[in-house]
């Protein structure tokens, strides 16, 4: 177990970069450094960026790189202890009582009667991350879109992230033998509290530049011809410089290229662009503005 635990720590920065590339995620050096530091220091990594730049993909890639289970906690407003940590399986407990009743064993004190044993405990993501897994690496815990959860949950998360232990009154305190690798993502729809951010290493995931995006396309959409990829990425890069309400992210680029491939296009013509622009721009005002100046931008390339 020890050797596996140190495996994550033994990865060098270059190894991380290469490893992520193998998992079809193109990371630049500063990101690899941040991941490296997060692993070495045992601190959570806080990934902030616009929607669609690849934060969740990164977490998945890291999980595969470290050969660990990926445990994902999707945040939303009103997320509470019962959905995030644990819940008792009430129906099963009730059935157990009925069973004991039917068998006439209700008055005996026996092992069957322990209604609050781990058999009846439903483990939710945070508890799963803490539970020991003897033959595997420490899991990767992805707390996705933390900005969608409310402040009550943030306070609760702060407690867990400091000690990695959960107290269940009926059972006791469960402590993680190995700290999981924690990744927190946020779309910046609200400011996360300083107390939480301070515990983490911060990384802002930005839109990629031309070369990087070409690499991403080649990795993820190998069926697209080189010409098509170049033209498409060039278009998206110049589109991002425009005055849009929501700039298209990397996932939009990939969607668009996949749709072009699906339509058997080798080159982008104005007509095709008109038809498929909805894969890139999701706001009506943006679409109108793009349709007005689209010709100009096509010509630029």
């Amino acid at each position: 177990m020890d050797s596996k635990a140190t495996e994550a720590k033994s990865l060098s920065i270059a190894a991380i970069e290469a490893g992520l590339r193998e998992q079809t995620y193109i990371a630049d050096r500063s990101l690899a450094v941040s991941i490296f530091l997060a692993l070495q220091l045992g601190k959570p990594l806080f990934l902030e960026g616009e929607a669609g730049v690849g934060k969740t993909e990164l977490a998945k890639a890291i999980g595969q790189l470290l050969n660990s289970r990926l445990i994902r906690l999707q945040c939303y407003e009103g997320l509470d202890v019962n959905s995030a940590v644990y819940e008792w399986n009430y129906s099963r407990q009730m059935l157990q009582i009925r069973l004991l009743e039917a068998q006439g064993k209700l008055s005996e004190r026996s092992d069957d009667f322990d209604l609050f044993s781990t058999d009846f405990l439903l483990e939710r993501p945070l508890l799963q991350a803490i539970s020991p897994t003897p033959d595997q690496n420490a899991p990767v815990l992805l707390i996705d879109e933390l900005d969608r959860a409310d402040e009550e949950f943030e306070a609760f998360l702060l407690e867990i992230l400091s000690d990695f232990q959960v107290t269940i009154p009926e059972i006791g305190t469960l402590r993680a033998l190995e700290k999981p690798v924690v990744l927190i993502t946020s779309n910046r729809t609200r400011e996360i509290h300083d107390a939480l951010k301070r515990r983490c290493l911060y990384y802002w995931v930005d839109y990629p530049d031309f070369e990087k995006e070409i690499e991403i396309v080649e990795c993820r959409c190998p069926q697209a011809s080189r010409e098509l990829a170049q033209q498409a990425v060039g278009f998206v890069q110049s589109l991002r410089k425009e005055d849009l309400f929501k700039r298209p992210g990397v996932s939009e680029t990939l969607d668009w290229i996949n749709s072009l491939v699906a339509m058997n296009q080798q080159q982008i013509s104005e007509a095709v662009l008109e038809d498929t622009l909805g894969a890139l721009l999701k706001y009506r005002d943006d679409l109108e503005m793009a349709r007005d100046g689209v010709a100009a931008r096509l010509l630029k390339k």
Binding site: E77, G78, I97, L115, D150, E152, R188, T189, F245
Partner: protein, 397 residues
């Protein structure tokens, strides 16, 4: 005969309408709705009978038992002060007369100690409130520095309570919509698994966030200080307030206003904002807000208030578009215009005309009374439904 009677009744009514304001100056809350009821009911009684008038006023203006004593004392003073000759009164004169009567009252009145004590209590509040009475209706632009300070103290006393919004969290309640299975089950363990007591839960409600966009351009100069104070007070009173100032650029001022000392905060702001006194481009400012801050600050469907006189040098079409976008992302959009307080003002500038169809409430903000009115409007927001616009879909919440 009928005519002179009517004329007398009119005159009496006009004098009588000073009484609610008299009550207000002594600290009682009297709403316009109550005054309207009073006017309606007036036609049914004989105004020459003093006790009938007392009953009328008490029935329409007083709503709490604890106010009755004060009401009686004030009514007596008022009745004495209203002249028997057929002239109409000014509130200031009325208060003066009443005050002089009150000072004499302990000596002349033979009713008893109770009333004497009340006169004593009423006097100091009168001195303070009669000054405010005048200040309440004076335009901010016309106040002297000292008067501004007095108004500021009253600003601080206003309590804001915007409507609540449903959150996705539940809290336990005694009676509710949903059964709280967890709690019910835990309680049932005591009775061998049979749920004797059923617990309920319901969705929690939180105060809506408020977003304030203040125009600080040259035309708004005389109002800027008091409006910044308004922003400050709002920020103190409500949990989630985001404030922005704009003229040619948009600046977020929420942190600056978070300082404990109001004057210091405003001082800091005045020093840091370099936009003062230039022309306004409301459309561009709103666009900057929507693009940069919209997604961060307009979640949880807030109430957005724009404070501006509408003098715009920028693109009107842009203004209309951004107003539409803003309207669709918030709970209610309120435009506060200090010019609305000026008699004879008509919102005719192109900027305002373009923006108005997207606005839910168009309100004045030129004096203390208008801020009090704003407070009432905020409390009632959830009761007034949003009107639909042609071709624009309504916000669902």
């Amino acid at each position: 005969m009928g005519n002179t009677e009517n004329a007398q009744a009119d005159l009496f009514l006009r004098n009588l309408l000073l009484f609610p304001r008299f009550l207000r100056s002594s600290g009682l809350v009297v709403t316009t709705a109550q005054i309207l009821t009073l006017v309606e009911a007036f036609s049914f009684i004989d105004f020459r009978k003093r006790e009938d008038v007392r009953s009328l006023l008490r029935a329409t203006l007083i709503q709490r038992h604890s106010d009755i004593k004060m009401f009686n004392a004030l009514f007596d003073l008022f009745w004495k002060a209203v002249p028997s000759d057929k002239k109409s009164l000014e509130l200031g004169q009325l208060i003066q007369r009443a005050r002089s009567d009150a000072v004499e009252a302990p000596k002349n009145d033979s009713v008893g100690n109770d009333e004497d004590v009340e006169m004593e209590e009423l006097l100091p509040t009168w001195r303070r409130y009669s000054a405010v009475e005048r200040l309440r209706y004076t335009d901010f632009a016309k106040l002297t520095d000292q008067e501004l300070e007095e108004v500021e103290t009253f600003l601080k006393d206003l309590r804001w309570s915007p409507p609540l919004r449903l959150t996705r969290r539940s809290a336990k309640t005694v009676h509710g919509e949903k059964i709280d299975m967890r709690r019910t089950w835990r309680a049932s363990l005591k009775s061998g698994g049979f749920p004797l007591k059923i617990s309920f839960k319901t969705r929690k409600r939180k105060l809506r966030p408020v977003v304030l966009l203040c125009d600080i351009s040259g035309s708004m100069e005389s109002y800027t200080r008091i409006l910044l104070q308004f922003a400050f007070v709002l920020g103190k009173g409500l949990p989630q307030v985001e404030a922005f100032a704009f003229s040619t650029r948009l600046t977020r001022i929420t942190y600056s206003l978070g300082h404990r000392d109001m004057n210091l905060a405003i001082q800091r702001l005045t020093n840091s904002l370099t936009d003062w006194g230039s022309g306004t481009r409301i459309g561009a400012a709103l666009k900057a807000f929507n693009f940069e801050w919209g997604r961060r600050v307009l979640t949880k469907s807030p109430i957005v208030m724009i404070v501006s006189d509408g003098w715009d040098r920028g693109d009107v079409a842009l203004l209309a578009r951004e107003m539409g976008r803003l309207r669709r992302s918030c709970y209610r959009l309120i435009w506060l215009n200090p010019l609305l307080g000026s008699p004879g003002y008509r919102p005719l500038t192109k900027g305002i005309c373009a923006a108005l169809p997207h606005v839910d409430h168009f309100l004045p903000v030129h004096n203390l009374a208008s801020l009090e009115q704003l407070k009432f409007v905020l409390e009632d927001l959830s009761r007034i439904e949003r009107s639909g616009l042609k071709g624009v879909s309504d916000s669902a919440f």
